[in-house]
Each structure stands twice: as structure tokens, then as C-alpha cells.
């Protein structure tokens, strides 16, 4: 029995290096496949995103071109001849020197310096200041909860 066990042990020991090698090879293969799969997955998703990006660029260009076309169309509708014709259809007539009156407004000087009105300091101070933080929000929630409990307790005691 002991002899057969020894024999068996010897047989195992003879096979051991081959199995280890095979295991390592299989493991290596799995790792390689895993890395390859990761690479393929990454590359394909990058490629897909790249294509989507390309499509979006094309879409942007197309929209820009359509905008240009619309701008041209609008400009066509706004030509002087067209505006004149439309104005005449609506009953307008060209102004003449006889029908034109210039008004001189006393005290009004078109070349005056621009006046910058200073911002009212009091008004500026009264503007609400944004100073919220996550901890502050937690504190608010806690205070609200405590308040509710206190109100509940006081109503119970009443």
C-alpha cells in the first residue's frame, strides 16, 4: 500500500511540472484574451464615439450651411427694392423736404459725453448672497427635523 502510494506520488511529481506549465499557459492565454478583449472593447467604443463625433461635425456643418442659406434668403427678402415696394403697398410715400420737420430739443446735445450712472451701494448690499454649502444644507434639514419633533411633542403635551 505504502509502495503504491509512493509510486503514485512519484507519478504525480513527474507530471507536476507539465501541469504547472499548462496552467500557466492557460492562465497566460486567459490574461491575453482578457487584455485583448479589453483593448478591442476600448478601441471599438473609441471608434464608435469617433464616428459619432464625425457625424455630429457633419451635422454641425450642415446646420451652419442651412443657416447661411437662410441668411441669404432673408437678405433676398430685405432688398431695398422689395422694401420700397412693400412700403408703397402699405401706403407709405418717400419723404420730401417739405414733409420733413427737424425738431431742436432745447438742452439736448447729441455730442454730450456718455454719463455712467453709478450703481446704488445700498441696493448692491441688499442683494442676497449665495453662501450655501453641503454642511449648511444638512444643518437646515436637521433643524427642520428637530423643529418638527418639537412641534409634535408640544402638540402631544397639549
Amino acid at each position: 500500500m505504502a509502495q503504491s502510494w509512493f509510486k503514485h506520488a512519484l507519478q504525480r511529481s513527474a507530471l507536476q511540472p507539465r501541469r504547472q506549465t499548462a496552467s500557466l499557459a492557460v492562465l497566460g492565454m486567459f490574461v491575453a484574451i482578457f487584455i485583448g478583449a479589453l483593448y478591442l472593447s476600448q478601441a471599438s467604443s473609441t471608434s464608435l464615439l469617433g464616428r459619432q463625433l464625425g457625424d455630429l461635425i457633419d451635422e454641425r456643418d450642415r446646420i451652419q450651411q442651412e443657416n447661411e442659406a437662410l441668411r441669404a434668403e432673408i437678405a433676398g427678402y430685405r432688398t431695398v427694392e422689395r422694401l420700397l415696394r412693400r412700403a408703397q403697398e402699405m401706403g407709405f410715400a418717400p419723404a420730401t423736404n417739405d414733409t420733413l420737420r427737424y425738431l431742436v430739443v432745447e438742452g439736448y446735445n447729441p455730442d454730450r459725453d456718455a454719463v455712467v450712472i453709478p450703481v446704488d451701494a445700498a441696493l448692491e448690499e441688499s442683494l442676497p448672497e449665495y453662501d450655501e454649502s453641503f454642511l449648511g444644507w444638512l444643518q437646515q434639514q436637521w433643524d427642520a427635523l428637530v423643529g418638527q419633533v418639537e412641534r409634535f411633542n408640544s402638540s402631544e403635551s397639549n
Partner: protein, 582 residues
């Protein structure tokens, strides 16, 4: 059995040799492969790379959007649109007859011809080289299999012929010709980029930004331009002239507000023009002898050089024999004792020649040179001519040239040169460079075109003296028809004879009539030149002075220039009127 054993033995013995040979050959091949990768001559390497790239990539040429051209108030004058080339892949068409029928009706083409193309054995056939965006929409709505629509960039001019000779046009090669399109081709066109498109699915497409062309804002006011073109067309038709020009300019900064020529063209259909001269801008590249308009320059130059005083006078005997020629007044009359103002008011050739002779030859030419005659103004339009001013020492110069140049004959200028010189008088002696571009807009950044001074040919005092004389010309002189009630106008007409192309003499009975003026005389906001070529009537005061009055009557309303009394009231209140930048 023995034989088989021997064979096995032979195989066993030879195998190592065969394997060794194969290994050596493989190693050699591997080394050769490695040498391809690492140690090839550069030209071979680049050749191999080009072979590789030809298989895996294609080059796409991306034309940048051309900059838009606007007038000073932001109205688009030149924009980009798309036309489409329509084609079909016959292999993908399942119903050729129906496809041909629908396409023929949408495109307005012969159904049979389209049917033949649809039945073609070629992989792709062009059906129409260029269709509009509207037709493209109709075709797209048909949803026909196999039909392809390829966009083709096109420059569009929504205002039609308006300001055509200022703007120029863009040809089928997407290059600008004439006008602003030609002069600012580099700025407007942007950069054409080449993009490598890979056929390998994992390769990312490039996302490089294309350098679009700069937008250009002109100094031109579309409404003033329309008014000028309409007035020019009307006056050409009424006077029987063969052509003409109207230029409206701000003398203070050299901005050209309008520049109209007749004949002109539609830049949307430039390819229909058979006479190339129509595409050019006669205001800057056609020279003519300006006639009596030049007298104001002669007088200004003489006053500035102090060759004469404002109260200078002489005795006009009706003829002046000098430099081997006889100079007569326009009506061949003698005017007796006249002062320098009357020289302009009555447009006396003898007076102008006398003033030039008082000044002396050298100062005369120095002053004319300072006024910019004989050299380009540098306006930003293609094809500007410098004019012709023969000076002492030139083979075509004679002493007579010196005398006749004083009243605008024997010297040739462009209309814009003439107006620029007169603008110096309007602008207190400072001569500004004329220009048509106000600003560039590139990637949201505004780059203004700074007005440039060409020089100060005369002093402010001289400019004011000459202005007063020019006011007298319009108020009480021959050019009285140019008056406009309520406004003080400074101006001067010129009736110029036309040299015979065969040389030597002038053609009889034909003239080029010009009026140059500015208003309000005491605070000039616009300077205007109107020129009509070969009208039925001979004299400018009869032909072009009334046109000036009619044009200015509309212009002051459009530009909101109030009458003198209103301006004076405003001045009394400490204000002024300057709506030039409206």
C-alpha cells in the same frame, strides 16, 4: 522492412539539415522584413508609406467658409450658399421608369434622357451639374433610391447688381475677382484644409478646426448706394450719356459711402458678361481729363503757396498766348478785370492759367503731386490706376501741359482721385485715404480699419478760403442749378473735352461732364462726385449740376442731414449733427 528502415534513417538524418536551412531562410526573411521596418532609405520608405496610405486613407479637401461681406449697417451683400450636383447609381434603382419620370418633373429635364442615364451600365451617372437648394428639397422629398446629392459651395449676392463693382465676384474656382472679393481674397477665403480620412474602422477621424474666412464690413451704406445707382441710371437715361459714376464719400475719414457706375452687372450672373470692362470699376481704373473741376485745385495750390492772395485780380482779355498755344475761356469772351473768386464762379480758363503762371512751374507740380495726382490713392479696390500727369522731364511733357493742366486738360485722373483731392479742401486741408472696408470680423474679434491720412496739401485757412469760393460758384455762378434750398453747398463743375484715341486732337461735340461738391459747406459731412460721359448736352452746368441737386435732395433726407438753420439752432445749444455713423 529493411528498406523502410533505411528510408526512415535517411529522413531522420536529413531532417535537421532541412530544418536548419528553413530556419536560416526564415531568419533571412525576418531580417529583411525588419530592415523594411527600420533601415530603409527615406525615399523608399515614403514611397511605401504612400502605397500603404493610398489603400487605407483618402484625402478630403475642406474649403473654408468664405467670409460674409456686409454693408456698414450689417446688411449682407455677399453670402455663402450651396448648390447641389445630382447623380444616380443605376444599380440601386429598382424602378427606372418611375425614377426617371419623377426626376424629370422635379428637375425640369427631358424624361427620356434621364431614363437612359438610369438604365446606364456605369456605377454612377451625373444627372444635373448644379441645382438649387429649393430643387434639392423637392428631390429629397421624392425619397428615390440611388439618387445622390453632392453639395457645391456657391457665393450669392442677395442684393443683385447693387454695388457689384465694389464687391466683385467669386468665380467657379472659389477665387475672388475684382472689387473687395479680389482685393481681400486672402482674408475672405480663409484656409483650405486637407483632411485624411482613414478606411480603418478603429482610426479616429480628425477633428481639426477649419480656418474660416474673415467677415468684412464695408463703409458702403446700402441705402445710399441704392439711391446713387437709381439716380445714375435715371440721369444716364435722361441725358443720353453712355456711362457715368457717382461717388459719395465722408471727407473727414475717407469712408466711401456709395460708389455707383453705369453700366454695371449682376455678380450672380457674372458669366453672362461678354465685355470684361463692365466687370471693372471705372471710378478707380478709368482715367479721364477732369476739365474745370481742376481749377479749384489750381487756386487752392496758388493760395497755399501764397503765389496769389485771396484778393488777387487780373485783366482777362479773352485770349492768353503762352507756351506756344492760345488759351480761351469756355465762351471765348473777355471778362476784363476779374478776381480769383470770379475765376471759379465763371470758370475762366485764362484765369486758371494765369494763376498757375503766377505760381511757377515747379511749385505748381509739387502742389499737384501733394494733391495725389499721378499716383494711386491706395483705395482697397482692385485695379486702381494712377492717372497721367506729365511732369517736366517726361518725354510727353510740354510747356503747354503746364498751362492746360491748370484747367484740367492734358492731365488725366480717376474719378476717385479727383474726389479725394477735393475732399482735402472739405476737410480743412487734410487729405484722407479713401477706403471701402470699415472692419474685419475674425473669430468674433473685430479689427477696425483705421482711417489713414494721405497728407496735408493745403492749410486749413486756405481750405476755408477755397470753400467760400466754391460756395459762391454754386450760389451765384454757372453751377447755380446744383443749389438745394436750405443747404449751403460748395461745388464746381467740369466740362472736359475727350482726346481722340488716334492722338493729337480732341473729339468735337462730345464731353465728359463732372460735378464735385460737398455739404454742408461749413461742416462737410459728405462729398459727392457725379460724372456723366458723352451726354447729349455739352456743358456740365446744364447736364450734371441739376442731377447733383436732385440727388442731394434725397441724400440729405436719407442721411438725416438737417437744413442750415436747424444746424445753427443746434450749434447755439452746444450740439452738432453728425449722422454719418448711423
Amino acid at each position: 522492412m529493411q528498406k523502410s528502415f533505411n528510408q526512415q534513417e535517411v529522413v531522420r538524418r536529413r531532417t535537421p539539415f532541412v530544418v536548419t536551412i528553413l530556419v536560416v531562410i526564415s531568419a533571412g526573411l525576418m531580417l529583411r522584413l525588419a530592415s523594411f521596418q527600420f533601415s530603409l532609405p527615406l525615399e523608399v520608405q515614403s514611397y511605401l508609406e504612400s502605397l500603404r496610405d493610398a489603400g487605407y486613407t483618402r484625402t478630403l479637401e475642406l474649403a473654408a467658409d468664405r467670409g460674409v461681406i456686409y454693408d456698414r449697417n450689417g446688411e449682407p451683400l455677399a453670402v455663402n450658399t450651396l448648390d447641389y450636383m445630382i447623380g444616380i447609381s443605376p444599380n440601386l434603382v429598382s424602378e427606372p421608369q418611375r425614377t426617371a419620370q419623377l426626376l424629370a418633373s422635379a428637375l425640369g429635364l427631358n424624361e427620356l434622357e434621364i431614363y437612359e442615364k438610369v438604365r446606364s451600365d456605369d456605377p454612377w451617372v451625373q444627372i444635373a451639374p448644379r441645382i438649387s437648394a429649393a430643387v434639392r428639397q423637392q428631390v429629397t422629398a421624392l425619397d428615390l433610391p440611388g439618387v445622390t446629392l453632392t453639395p457645391i459651395p456657391r457665393r450669392s449676392y442677395p442684393q443683385g447688381p447693387l454695388a457689384a463693382q465694389i464687391i466683385g465676384f467669386v468665380g467657379g474656382d472659389l477665387v475672388g475677382y475684382y472689387g473687395v472679393e479680389g482685393y481681400y481674397q486672402d482674408q475672405l477665403a480663409g484656409q483650405v484644409r486637407e483632411r485624411e480620412i482613414s478606411r480603418i474602422p478603429f482610426d479616429l477621424p480628425e477633428t481639426t478646426q477649419i480656418g474660416h474666412g474673415s467677415d468684412v464690413v464695408l463703409t458702403i451704406d446700402r441705402d445710399v448706394q441704392y439711391l446713387a445707382e437709381n439716380e445714375l441710371l435715371r440721369s444716364v437715361q435722361e441725358s443720353g450719356a453712355t456711362g457715368g459714376t457717382i461717388i459719395v464719400m465722408n471727407p473727414r475719414n475717407g469712408e466711401i459711402l456709395a460708389l455707383a457706375n453705369y453700366p454695371n452687372f449682376d455678380p450672380n450672373a457674372y458669366f453672362n458678361i461678354t465685355d470684361e470692362n463692365v466687370l471693372r470699376n471705372p471710378a478707380v481704373n478709368t482715367i479721364y481729363e477732369p476739365g474745370s473741376v481742376m481749377k479749384v485745385i489750381t487756386v487752392a495750390a496758388a493760395l497755399d503757396r501764397q503765389a496769389i492772395a485771396p484778393d488777387f485780380s487780373y485783366v482777362d482779355s479773352g485770349v492768353l498766348n503762352v507756351a506756344g498755344i492760345s488759351v480761351y475761356n469756355w465762351d471765348r469772351q473777355a471778362y476784363g478785370a476779374v478776381d480769383v473768386t470770379r475765376v471759379l464762379v465763371d470758370s475762366l480758363n485764362i484765369g486758371a492759367a494765369t494763376v498757375a503762371l503766377e505760381m511757377g512751374r515747379q511749385p505748381f507740380y509739387e502742389e499737384f503731386n501733394e494733391f495725389g495726382f499721378g499716383r494711386i490713392t491706395g483705395v482697397d479696390l482692385e485695379g486702381e490706376e494712377s492717372g497721367l500727369m506729365p511732369v517736366p522731364g517726361d518725354p510727353n511733357w510740354s510747356e503747354a501741359n503746364y498751362v492746360t493742366s491748370s484747367f484740367g486738360q492734358g492731365i488725366s485722373v480717376t474719378p476717385l482721385q479727383m474726389l479725394t483731392a477735393v475732399c482735402a479742401i472739405a476737410n480743412d486741408g487734410l487729405m484722407m485715404q479713401p477706403h471701402v472696408v470699415r472692419q474685419f470680423v475674425s473669430n468674433g474679434e473685430i479689427i477696425p480699419a483705421t482711417p489713414a491720412a494721405l497728407g496735408r496739401p493745403i492749410s486749413a485757412e486756405t481750405a476755408q478760403q477755397v470753400t467760400q469760393m466754391m460756395v459762391s460758384v454754386v450760389e451765384s455762378g454757372l453751377d447755380n442749378p446744383a443749389r438745394l434750398p436750405g443747404y449751403t453747398i460748395a461745388g464746381k463743375t467740369g466740362t472736359a473735352e475727350i482726346p481722340d484715341p488716334s492722338g493729337g486732337f480732341y473729339q468735337s461735340g462730345v464731353s465728359i461732364t463732372t460735378f464735385v461738391g460737398f455739404l454742408p459747406a461749413d461742416d462737410p459731412q459728405v462729398a459727392i462726385l457725379i460724372k456723366l460721359d458723352r451726354p447729349r448736352e455739352y456743358w456740365a452746368s446744364q447736364v450734371v449740376a441739376p442731377v447733383f441737386s436732385r440727388f442731394v435732395e434725397r441724400l440729405v433726407i436719407l442721411m438725416e442731414i438737417p437744413t442750415d438753420d436747424v444746424r445753427q439752432q443746434l450749434s447755439a445749444l452746444g450740439g452738432s449733427v453728425n449722422n454719418i455713423n448711423r
